[in-house]
Amino acid sequence: MIKEGMLLTFILEVLMGIALLVLVSRARAGKKIPVIHEIAGLTALQEAVGRATEMGTPIMFVPGKGDLADAQTYAALPVLDYVAKSCAEYDTRIIVPTGVAVVHPVADAVTRQAFQAAGKGDSYRETDVRFINEQNWAWAAGITGIMEREKVAAQILFGAFWAESLFLAESGNRAGAMQIAGTASTSQIPFFVAACDYTLIGQEIFAASAYLNPEPSTTGGLVVQDWGKMLGLALVILGAILATFGNNTLAEFMLK
C-alpha cells in the first residue's frame, strides 16, 4: 500500500520512469530524436570559452550553492563537464569555486574527468577547483575576490543561488566578464536576467545536458520533461473548466 498523500506522486513518477526507459531504448534502437530548440545561453558557452582563450585569462564556473539533495546541483554538473572539456581543449584555465563541502569532491571529479576525456589530464590544476566557504556571503566574497584578481574573462553561474546572486553577477560586470547564468531559484532569476548577458530560466537548466550532450538518455529525459509540462498544462486547464462548473474533483485528487 502506498502511503496516504503519496499516491499521485508515486503514479506520476512511475509513469515518467517507464516513459523515460521506453524512449531511451527506442532512441538507442535508432528511432528519431526530437529537435531541441536552441537555448541562447548554452550556445554562448562556446563564446565564453573563446573569449577566455583569446584573452588568455580564466573562465569561472560557479556551480551554485545547492547541496547534493538539490536537483539544480546535478543540472549544473553536465554544464561544468562541457565547459571544462572545452577549456581543456583550448588550454584555457577554469576556476570552480565551491561553497558546499559535499559538492566540492563531485565538482572536482567532474572537472578532472573532463580534462582527462580531452586528453589533457596533466593540465588539470587541482587547486583551481577550490572550496571557499559554506556561508553564502563568505563564498560570494571569495568568488568576487578571485574574479577581480585573476581577471576572469567569463563567469558562468549555474545551479541554486540565494541572495548572493546579484552580488556575484554585478561583481562580474565590474570585472568586465562575460556572464552566463542559469537557475531555477525563482526569487533570484530576476537578478540574473538584469545583470547577465544570458540567463537560462528555470527548467531550461534541466534541458542543458540534452542540448550539450544529445544522446538517448538526455534527449529521452527532455521529451519526458515536455510531457510532464503538457500534463501540467492539461491539468490546469481541465481543473479550471471543472472549477467553473463547481466541480472540484480534480483539485481534490491533486492531494492524493
Partner: protein
C-alpha cells in the same frame, strides 16, 4: 568495482529510501529515518574536505610567494587560530564570541548591504536595453517600486493597488509555472540517476 560499485550503491540507497518513504509499511518506515540519519552523518563528517581545499589553495600561494601571498597567509593563520580558540575554549568563550559578533558580523552586514548599490547598477543596465521585453520589465518594476513606498499612494491610490495586483496575479502565475517546470526537470534528472542512466558524475578511470 571502481565504477559499478558506486553506481550500484547510488541506485540501491536511492530506491530503498523511496520505497521506505512511499510505502505504508511499519517495517520500512524506520529505514527512511535511518537513511536520513546516515545522510546527515556522512555530510557532517566530510566537511573537512572543504577546509583541506582552503588550506591547499592558500598554503600553495604562500609557499610559492604568489602575488598577494600575505593575504593567503593571514587567512590560514586566522582560520586555524580561530579553530583552535573554539575547540580549546569552547563555543561559549568570550574571545570566540567577541570575534564573531564584533568583527565578523559588521563585515557580513556591510557586504550584504552593498546589494543596494548593485541593485541600482543592475537595474540601470537591464532597463537600458531597448526591446519590448525590457520595456515590460521596466514598467512592471516601476509600478511595483513606486507602489510599495508612500510616494505611490501620494500620487494616486491606484498605484499601490496596481503594484499589489501585479505581484499577486501575473507574477504569481509566472513563478508558479517556472516552479512546476523545474519540479518536472528535477524529477526526470533524479529518475535518470536512480535508473543508472546518468553516470557522468562517476569518473571513468
Amino acid at each position: 568495482m571502481k565504477r559499478e560499485g558506486p553506481i550500484a550503491l547510488l541506485m540501491i540507497s536511492g530506491v530503498l529510501y523511496i520505497v521506505s518513504v512511499m510505502l505504508a509499511s511499519p517495517v520500512m518506515e524506520p529505514v527512511a529515518a535511518t537513511l536520513d540519519d546516515w545522510y546527515k552523518i556522512v555530510v557532517g563528517f566530510i566537511n573537512l574536505v572543504g577546509i583541506i581545499s582552503l588550506t591547499q589553495v592558500n598554503g600553495r600561494a604562500v609557499l610559492r610567494k604568489s602575488s598577494g601571498w600575505f593575504y593567503n597567509a593571514l587567512l590560514i593563520v586566522v582560520l586555524y587560530g580561530y579553530i583552535i580558540l573554539g575547540l580549546v575554549g569552547g563555543v561559549g568563550n568570550v574571545a570566540f564570541t567577541r570575534i564573531y559578533d564584533n568583527i565578523l558580523t559588521p563585515i557580513l552586514m556591510t557586504i550584504f548591504s552593498t546589494l543596494t548599490f548593485w541593485i541600482g547598477s543592475a537595474a540601470y543596465r537591464a532597463f537600458r536595453a531597448k526591446n519590448l521585453d525590457a520595456a515590460i520589465l521596466l514598467v512592471a518594476g516601476i509600478v511595483v517600486m513606486i507602489g510599495r513606498v508612500t510616494l505611490g499612494s501620494a500620487i494616486s491610490p491606484a498605484i499601490p493597488k496596481a503594484a499589489e495586483w501585479i505581484l499577486n496575479f501575473p507574477t504569481v502565475a509566472g513563478m508558479r509555472a517556472i516552479e512546476m517546470g523545474a519540479a518536472i526537470g528535477g524529477i526526470v534528472l533524479a529518475l535518470r540517476m536512480i535508473t543508472g542512466l546518468e553516470r557522468s558524475f562517476m569518473s571513468n578511470d
